[in-house]
Amino acid sequence: MRQLFLLLQKELTELVRTKKAMVLLIVFGIFGIMNAALAKLTPWMISLMGDSLAEQGITFGAISVTALTAWTQYFKNLMMEYILILALFSGIFAQEYQSGTLINLLTKGVSRQKVALSKLLIALFGWSVCYWLTFFITLGYSAYYWENALTNGIWLAAFCAYIMGVWLLSLELAFASALQSGMYALLLTGGVFVLCYALGMLPALTRFLPPRLGDGLSLLTGDMESTDYLPALWISLAFSVVQSALCMVGIRKKQL
């Protein structure tokens, strides 16, 4: 237990001192602010362009902006958040493999699984902090500007999107622990996502595949029921567990 604690402490120090934590917090903070700000500014921007658009025969009626507009923006930005977090943690194993920094620790008798577990936990911790930071900033601004900020179904929708991040991150780390390059891990994760997304086009499969979890907006607009998300949610959770286990197996077989 002490070994795991020390490894977690080391990973956390790394995040802070290499400024990764700062970059993540700033960018995810900006995401949170932008979601509400863009919604709030939409009518103003449209009125700004209104005259020139009117000349082309496009006219607008009264534009009503609600908390739902901010949440729409929130779900549209999700893909950027996934890419950012995956890119930032893609090298978490590779940089140690390539530089040989793990050798000193492993020859002290640390188990490889603990090394992998510490990295997995710190990546999930990073994702959790960043994701919920964006969520609560969006929520805070929405509550300030509009009524009914807690749109029906928002908690489940947000949780599903969070779990999709957990699935993607554990998938990436499973690749990363077995590979020498972080870029390959990132690309393979992207590949698996695209594959799942493509398979999701088949109506029979769409309910079961993790990408369904990113579509929280349909729950807010009432196009889907909460039960429509459950199969994908359970499957993503199960995959995440399996992938985390694979991450710890990957490092065992790694020749350093």
């Binding site: 020390l6 120090t13 920094t101 000193n104 492993l106 002290k108 008798g109 640390v110």
Partner: protein, 301 residues
């Protein structure tokens, strides 16, 4: 008792056999010089000892316990200094030693004095709170020794610790190794032979994946008595006339003759001749078999 024992170790990378039936043993308290040219298999051997590589055949024992590939418990006996030790640049030496010591299971109370003791041993006390990212190669090498010794290992394995350093850096490392010899057994690989002569008492010569020479340094030297002698004259003419009477010498410079394969009896004969010829050399001396000559001789055989 032997701290380290390798029996019949084989290692292949694809078609290439890197270690061929390698057996060696390192007795307790020794500083064992593990010599070999680049690519001889020194690093591979060390990685197998540490369980970082799997041997294809044979057995490695440390303090009597068998080494297994991957997660090996024998590493608690071992401190390892890689050839180019790498650290987390964002940590300070103090923090790094605290991490390593903690991972090796040293109690919190014992850790701080041990880290301070080691930092002073390797001369890094003044840099103890600086980030490692700004360290020179020599400083990293010294910190590498400190981290390897943090848990008082029975066996310290150093992979070419002096190869990348300037003469001062090399001397520092050799001095540190000398200072710790009472505490731990050292296995020290290198291709810099003078370093071995300065610090090691046992040597093993690895060539082409096999140990072709091993034992106590003096014994190995004594086994190779055909070390010859050197005569040095003041004048070139003396050199020429002596060589014509006593052939077999190689002119090293115009005034220096080396008889590389001559025995003691040959040398006495030469001295007699010098007297008969009334030649007075500047010096005549037995050649101490240098490691270099042993190395060359053994590699050729």
């Amino acid at each position: 008792m032997d701290v380290l024992e390798l029996t019949g170790v084989e290692k292949r990378f694809g078609e290439r056999t890197v270690l061929k039936n390698l057996s060696l043993s390192v007795p307790e308290g020794a500083i064992y010089g593990f010599i070999g040219e680049n690519g001889a298999g020194k690093t591979t051997t060390m990685k197998i000892i540490l369980g970082l590589l799997a041997a294809d055949d044979g057995e490695v024992r440390i303090c009597g316990e068998k080494v297994v590939y991957g997660q090996t418990r024998t590493n608690r006996f071992v401190g390892y200094l890689p050839d180019v030790p790498e650290f987390y640049g964002y940590l300070t030496p103090k923090e790094y030693l605290a991490l390593c010591g903690g991972l090796a299971g040293i109690s919190q109370n014992a850790l701080r004095p041990r880290a301070e003791e080691l930092l002073s041993l390797v001369g890094l006390t003044s840099a103890a709170n600086r980030h490692i990212s700004g360290f020179s190669r020599g400083m990293k090498q010294r910190l590498g020794i400190a981290q390897a010794l943090i848990h008082r290992p029975k066996l310290l394995i150093c992979d070419e610790p002096t190869s990348a350093l300037d003469p001062t850096g090399r001397k520092d490392i050799i001095d540190i190794l000398r200072a710790i010899r009472s505490e731990t057994t050292v296995l020290f690989s290198t291709h810099i032979l003078p370093d071995i002569e300065r610090v090691c008492d046992q040597i093993g010569l690895l060539h082409d994946g096999k140990l072709i020479l091993s034992g106590r340094l003096e014994e190995v030297r004594a086994m190779h008595t055909k070390s010859g002698f050197v005569v040095e004259f003041a004048e070139e003419s003396e050199t020429v006339s002596f060589l014509s009477v006593y052939p077999g010498g190689e002119a090293d410079t115009t005034s220096r003759l080396i008889y590389p394969t001559a025995t003691r009896a040959d040398m006495i004969e030469a001295m007699k001749l010098l007297g008969d010829m009334r030649l007075c050399p500047l010096k005549i001396e037995q050649r101490e078999p240098s490691l270099e000559s042993l190395f060359m001789e053994a590699s050729v055989e």
